[in-house]
């Protein structure tokens, strides 16, 4: 009897596991996060999926599927080849995805999908250790002009990734010419890079504010400039790039696309539903809690923005030799 009880409980656990995977109705709205659970794309899908249901914009629940691989390339290839006309499918993306496309690392270009809209953005910042001699972006750019390899810069992306590219855009706008000579060190996340900044291994970090805000609050690091149009409310002491005469912004926006063969009607319905979602209290609260600045661009406006960002990123990638 005892043995039987053990086996029943064990089988119960296993079958509970099975049931968790089986609960997926065939025609439900699906949001694919092209990454593992946790992180930005997963947050986008889970939060938007939850709020779509809360606002009754879709029937039933939104199924969130994690499909990691190739920084979103696996999902992009799958949607392009198998589900390009599936109007019930939305996919999370961000500046990171567009950077990959601009550098030819996805199986298709931006024209393969229909871009629905962006709902919020993380803001890029340039930070130094609290005791650094560099006091402003002007100091930083002067130092880089005098000797581009004098400082070690770091962030959470590889060479040619968005953290790197937007630092170089700020340097270029600030008059630095020899961009490829600036040293860049990749870390696995913004906090890893900041740890090294505090430990004195690197001199400058370029990354998103949401991940490293805690270290600014604790006084370990100092913000030289933020890459947004307006100052960030939580860090209102830190000047924007534009205030310092550097004409650039560096958002890491969060948004969605759907398949390239989805009908105009279905596309327009999605855009208007997402705009309703954006204007809801639910989204405004959730986005701020996750460290995002709510920003809306949708429909044709967003399609044009995507194409412009792809071009800018491709240009600077060529300048620094990441692509030919």
């Amino acid at each position: 009897m005892r043995v039987a009880a053990i086996w029943t409980s064990k089988l119960g656990m296993i079958s509970a596991g099975f049931m968790a995977f089986a609960a997926l109705p065939a025609d439900a709205t699906e949001c694919i996060a092209p990454s593992n659970p946790g992180g930005g794309w997963d947050f986008t899908c889970r939060t938007i999926g939850r709020i779509l249901t809360e606002l009754d914009l879709v029937d039933g629940n939104v199924q969130v599927t994690n499909m990691p691989g190739g920084v979103g390339a696996v999902t992009y290839a799958m949607v392009a080849s198998e589900r390009s006309d599936d109007a019930d499918l939305i996919v999370a993306t961000s500046t990171v995805g567009i950077t990959q496309i601009a550098q030819g690392k996805y199986p298709a270009g931006v024209d393969a999908m229909r871009w629905l809209g962006m709902l919020g953005a993380d803001v890029g910042v340039v930070a130094v250790a609290a005791d650094s001699e560099i006091q402003s972006m002007a100091d930083l750019n002067e130092a880089l002009k005098a000797d581009p390899s004098s400082l070690t810069t770091a962030g959470s992306s590889s060479i040619g990734g968005w953290d790197h590219i937007r630092l170089l855009i700020a340097a270029r706008e600030g008059g630095v010419e020899d961009l490829p000579a600036i040293r860049w060190v990749q870390f696995d996340g913004g906090t890893d890079a900041v740890t090294q900044l505090i430990g004195g291994q690197v001199d400058v970090v370029s990354t998103d504010i949401s991940e490293i805000g805690g270290f600014v609050e604790s006084g370990d690091i100092r913000l030289l400039g933020v890459m947004s149009d307006e100052r960030i409310p939580a860090f209102s002491d830190a000047p924007t790039m534009i205030e310092q005469g550097i004409e650039m912004t560096g958002y890491n926006w969060r948004g969605l696309y759907t398949g390239g063969d989805v009908s105009d009607d279905a596309y327009n319905t999605w855009v208007s539903n997402l705009e309703t979602l954006y204007n809801s209290e639910n989204w405004q609260t959730a986005a701020v809690e996750f460290g995002l600045v709510p920003i809306w661009r949708g429909g044709d406006d967003f399609e044009a923005y995507i194409r412009e960002q792809e071009k800018v990123t491709a240009d600077i990638s060529r300048d620094i030799g990441v692509i030919q």
Binding site: V3, G17, P37, T65, G69, A73, V74, S158, Q196
Partner: protein
């Protein structure tokens, strides 16, 4: 004092009804998995990870559940070692040496009770060490630069030789295969694809969890498929349920020595529980085997490795949590799980998520008590589990592996990768090549490379940066000392083995 108040707040985290029930469930399932021949902590943790995602547990609860499973398997591993002479998991190999002879002499209950108490002592000493020293290590870790991390990984790879295998050439081969697999995917520094054959599915590299489940669970199924059911050794009858207190007391110093040695082995990245139990056993044997009773059912030969492997499993959590560097194959799986839950273990974990860390430490104290309570009176139930036939066990293992891996990525491709690794694991095991170095190579190789290349980026290609800090120099000196010690120990045991053969 700060530690105590943090620990107290940790207990309030661990004592929520959800976490408490996860703790009990984890201990129970862990002991069960550990008791099953061949299934060890890596399997237990690797199989349960996808379930934590499926149930949508948060990071703290997931970690509590998996740590309970982890400690549970370390407790449970001894049961089939003692009763069947089949190690329940890798670190329990040493327990067979004296545990099975004790059972044959009719002292199975003593052996089981004694090993349960030894496990408790070892794990408790380790958790006390974890609460006292982990914050110190965490504070020191902020000074670790890429060059120092590289030195740390060099040390981890140097200690792999001690983890597994008799033949150093096979260990080296296994580690090199792991390192090679680790280079597949987008180069993290420059973003250039390597060895992907243009396949987007492996742009992110081989998912370590998928490879682990394949290597351990699938190859285990293949191994057991090959063996005929009648090959299984019959279980030994366990008469009476009252362990002799004097036997347990007589091993108290063996337990303490084993615990300390195991704890140190656990704190060393890449050493872990197997090394802890081997070293505890061999040093205990050197220290107290005066009448040549070791190997013939000496209680101290059961107590020392059991205390050692449980202390090591607790100690291994220190580098995993405070440095982000796993101290064993199992903590490596847990590390991968934490990262995929968006928790970055490392120097800042204690600052950023004290709830998670101290909740975990508190739940480990409770897991130890729970496991002791579970293990002593329930010995009889676990004994009967040995009778579960292979044909019933293996389909369940297969089902859990497939469902688990599929739920990580919703990708059939990952299932194919898992099966491929199962076959690779099976072939390597048939050739007596330990899988542990391969796993460590796969898990640590990427980070080792990244840190070397980060150091090179910082120094603009000047190799001398590797020897510029005291931390890295110290680590290299320790590595050399460790290598010298293992060569010396190997030569000594070689000599002893020879003289024993002459006597016989």
């Amino acid at each position: 004092m700060e530690t105590l108040s943090l620990l107290a707040s940790g207990f309030t985290v661990a004592l929520t009804p959800l976490n408490l029930s996860l703790l009990f469930a984890g201990c129970f399932v862990g002991t069960l998995i550990g008791a099953m021949p061949g299934l060890g902590p890596v399997n237990g943790v690797a199989i349960l990870i996808p379930l934590t995602f499926a149930f949508g547990l948060d990071a703290t609860s997931s970690l509590i559940l998996l740590s309970a499973v982890y400690f549970g398997t370390m407790y449970g591993g001894r049961i089939s070692s003692i009763l069947l002479n089949i190690p329940g998991d890798e670190p329990a190999v040493m327990t067979t040496l004296d545990g099975y002879p004790m059972a044959q002499k009719g002292q199975a209950v003593d052996a089981l009770a004694l090993s349960g108490v030894a496990s408790f002592v070892g794990a408790t000493i380790a958790v006390i060490g974890l609460s006292l020293f982990a914050p110190l290590l965490a504070r020191a870790a902020i000074h670790f630069g890429p060059a120092d991390y590289f030195a740390l990984y060099i040390m981890a790879f140097a200690t792999i030789g001690g983890v597994a295998g008799v033949d150093p050439r096979k260990t080296l081969l296994s580690a090199l295969i792991g390192l090679m697999i680790a280079t597949v995917g987008l180069d993290p520094i420059s973003g250039v694809p390597r060895y992907t054959g243009g396949n987007f599915h492996i742009y992110d590299g081989i998912e370590p969890i998928v490879a682990l489940v394949g290597l351990f669970a699938i190859s285990e199924i293949l191994m057991l498929l090959e063996k005929h059911i009648k090959d299984r050794v019959g279980a030994i009858r366990v008469d009476g349920w009252m362990p002799s207190l004097s036997t347990i007391l007589s091993t108290k110093w063996a337990m303490v020595r084993g615990s300390l040695i195991g704890f140190i082995a656990g704190v060393l990245p890449g050493a872990g529980a197997s090394l802890g139990s081997v070293m505890s056993y061999s040093i205990e044997k050197q220290a107290s085997d005066k009448d040549g009773t070791f190997g013939q059912g000496d209680p101290r030969g059961v107590a020392a490795p059991e205390a050692g492997n449980n202390a090591a499993s607790g100690g291994a959590l220190i580098p995993m949590l405070s440095l982000g560097v796993p101290g064993s194959g199992t903590t490596a799986v847990m590390l991968a799980m934490l990262i995929s839950l968006n928790v970055q273990p490392g120097p800042l974990l204690f600052e950023r998520q004290p709830d998670l860390v101290w909740g975990l430490v508190a739940s480990l104290y409770m897991a130890n008590v729970t496991l002791l309570i579970l293990n002593i009176p329930l010995i009889g139930i676990f004994t009967r589990l040995m009778a579960v036939p292979t044909w019933a066990l293996m389909p369940i293992v297969a089902a859990v592996s497939f469902v688990g891996v599929f739920s990580i990525s919703n990708s059939v491709f990952d299932l194919e990768v898992m099966i491929a690794f199962g076959v690779i694991g099976y072939i390597l095991r048939k050739m007596d090549i330990s899988l542990v170095p391969l796993v460590l190579g796969l898990l640590l190789g990427g980070d080792m490379e990244r840190n070397l290349r980060r150091a090179m980026s910082i120094s603009d290609g000047d190799w001398s940066i590797l020897l510029q800090s005291w931390i890295s120099i110290t680590l290299y000196v320790l590595t050399l000392a460790f290598l010298a010690l293992s060569v010396w120990l190997a030569m000594r045991s070689n000599k002893r083995g020879k003289s024993r053969r002459f006597e016989a």
